[in-house]
Symmetry: C2
Subunit: 337 residues, 2 copies
């Protein structure tokens, strides 16, 4: 491995000069800079990450804690993770991948060892165990998701309340009076994952406002579970004509089941999904949907974290405005029987 000292010798300057060329923290004459840069090229020099971290107490690594669970829609997680990784690179950071398995201890370990300069947490629960540790660690941190008490922590998330409201507004605008929400798996609500509850809150609020009746049912996803959920919904509310689906694993089963039951979409029943655009566009009926802006969330999270590391942190909650794309799965409610 080539070292700074070797580069310095090759360029006929001191080690510190090379360091300043690299960091730009002091002015260097054009001729010296060129000479040094040429030597760096020639020798194929790469600064040693450990030495750099030790000397500067900056690792240029951002830790990303992803949930271990697979009861939530994985592609969204992956998309966020990839967006985080690529955005981080454009700011000169690498990303360390932590799974939830280690739990809150991971926060302590990473902060304690100075392995990462900052952390991004995904799948944040309303009362998340990791948050006290995070505050205490005094490191830059951004949450993707919104806990009950976000004080002192920067958060990035889709505005799920507005999302829920938007879905209801759309359906109500089409004259639907009875709406069912097919939600995430029950475990997601039990764990008090913020986004799921907030969506329902938004749905309820807008329903009240527009005088629409709402029935919310968790659903495990998959055919069998969705069939059961759907049967119970129609049992309880036979007049249901609008669906809001917030569970990717229930989308396709739902469409199939409705078809099998002879309910046409959107003539008899309208469906709005909360899911990535790709899923909505590729479903058997092109779905009217509110997209989950996974990329945008990952990108914003990194930008916030980088801002915090640069001392320009906001410590604020940033909610992304939902956007509803009308496709082929929603239409006017059928005339009342």
């Amino acid at each position: 491995m080539v070292t700074l000292a070797e580069v310095a010798q090759h360029a006929g300057v001191s080690a510190s000069t090379v360091s300043y060329v690299l960091s730009g923290k002091r002015s260097i004459s054009a001729s010296t800079r060129e000479r040094v840069e040429k030597s760096i090229q020639r020798l194929g020099y790469h600064p040693n990450a450990g030495a750099r971290a030790l000397a500067s107490s900056r690792s240029n690594i951002i830790a990303l804690m992803v949930p271990l669970r697979t009861d939530m829609y994985v592609p969204v997680m992956m998309e966020i993770a990839i967006a985080v990784a690529t955005t981080a690179r454009t700011h000169g950071y690498d990303v360390l991948l932590l799974t939830g398995e280690e739990g809150p201890a991971a926060v302590r370990r990473i902060a304690g060892s100075s392995l990462a300069d900052a952390m991004i947490l995904m799948d944040v629960e309303l009362q998340d165990e990791r948050l006290p540790l995070l505050r205490e660690a005094g490191r830059a941190a951004v949450l993707i998701g919104l806990p009950a008490d976000p004080s002192g922590l920067t958060c990035v998330d889709l505005d799920f309340e507005a999302t829920g409201a938007l879905c209801v507004e759309h359906l109500a605008g089409f004259g639907h009076r009875e709406i069912a929400v097919i939600g995430e798996a029950a475990a997601v609500y039990e764990r008090h994952t913020g986004f799921a509850e907030r969506t329902v809150d938004g749905v309820r609020a807008k329903a009240r406002e527009t005088g629409v009746r709402v029935l919310h049912r968790p659903c495990e996803g998959g055919y069998a579970a969705t069939a059961g959920t759907l049967a119970r919904i129609f049992d309880e509310r036979p007049g249901t004509t609008g669906f809001v689906v917030q569970n990717e694993a229930a989308v396709e089963p739902l469409l199939n089941l409705l078809r099998q039951q002879g309910r046409a979409v959107p003539e008899d029943v309208s469906v709005v999904a909360i899911c990535p655009d790709q899923v909505a566009a590729q479903a058997s009926v092109r779905l009217t949907s509110v997209a989950i802006p996974a990329q945008e969330m990952g990108r914003r999270a990194v930008e916030q974290v980088v801002a915090e590391l640069a001392g320009r942190g906001t410590g604020e909650v940033e909610l992304l405005a939902p956007e509803l794309t009308v496709r082929a799965s929603t239409g006017p409610a059928p005339a009342r029987a």
Copy 2:
């Protein structure tokens, strides 16, 4: 931040003694060890990762390069990535997440900076640009996937040839004589991703052996694309009664389309999928399938990499044997018309 020296002082020993307690590289008396461990607890000491990396030239980090592309089934990637991260932790390693974006340069950067001790590459192409750099870097490395020339590199992958053969064998055993393979997107083949081609090779070989006719068609996935592919297949080979599907995005569309065409599964047509068990079990018809052992692949990759770092590397190709699970989508071929 608490340092080694502070722990040493607190425990009344020298710094090196604390270091040896931590690493176990020299014998330490029980009493001293206890005292040091107690001090570590009390002070909440965590070794500084950078300092450790610098002094030992070991970062205890494994870099994982995941593809940036999303034309391949993402959940499998995610499952592998998570398995890698959790397995790595059990061996004392953290995982650095690199996306394909940086391309081959990432290999050079990571190796050059000693940021990671080893690399795991996913989505390896037959002629992968990263491989020469990897060999040259002289770092421990494991590929998940199988390039054309794996010499000198440890590889872990599902035995896709055997997988293809197994699918055909299963269908042939049920008396199917005309089989269609619905494959990955054309781009996957153009890029010469090993697994896709190897599956087809396995299919062809076993078909020859059993006297079965095979038609292979790439497919983009989604409804529209799958419909087109399916139409062309029946057009060309009206007698097709068996399908092998290696594209998760085509599975559900295919089942729906067959149903719409009045072809019952498995009475008229049998379908074998190559996909994660979860997808197979949750599909609208429970699918006979060969599972993609994502977790196992991630786990084995880490174990190989750890072995290499410990100097017990094999440098060999490890192909995991496929397992076919019979579910409800395959049965005897219908009597010839």
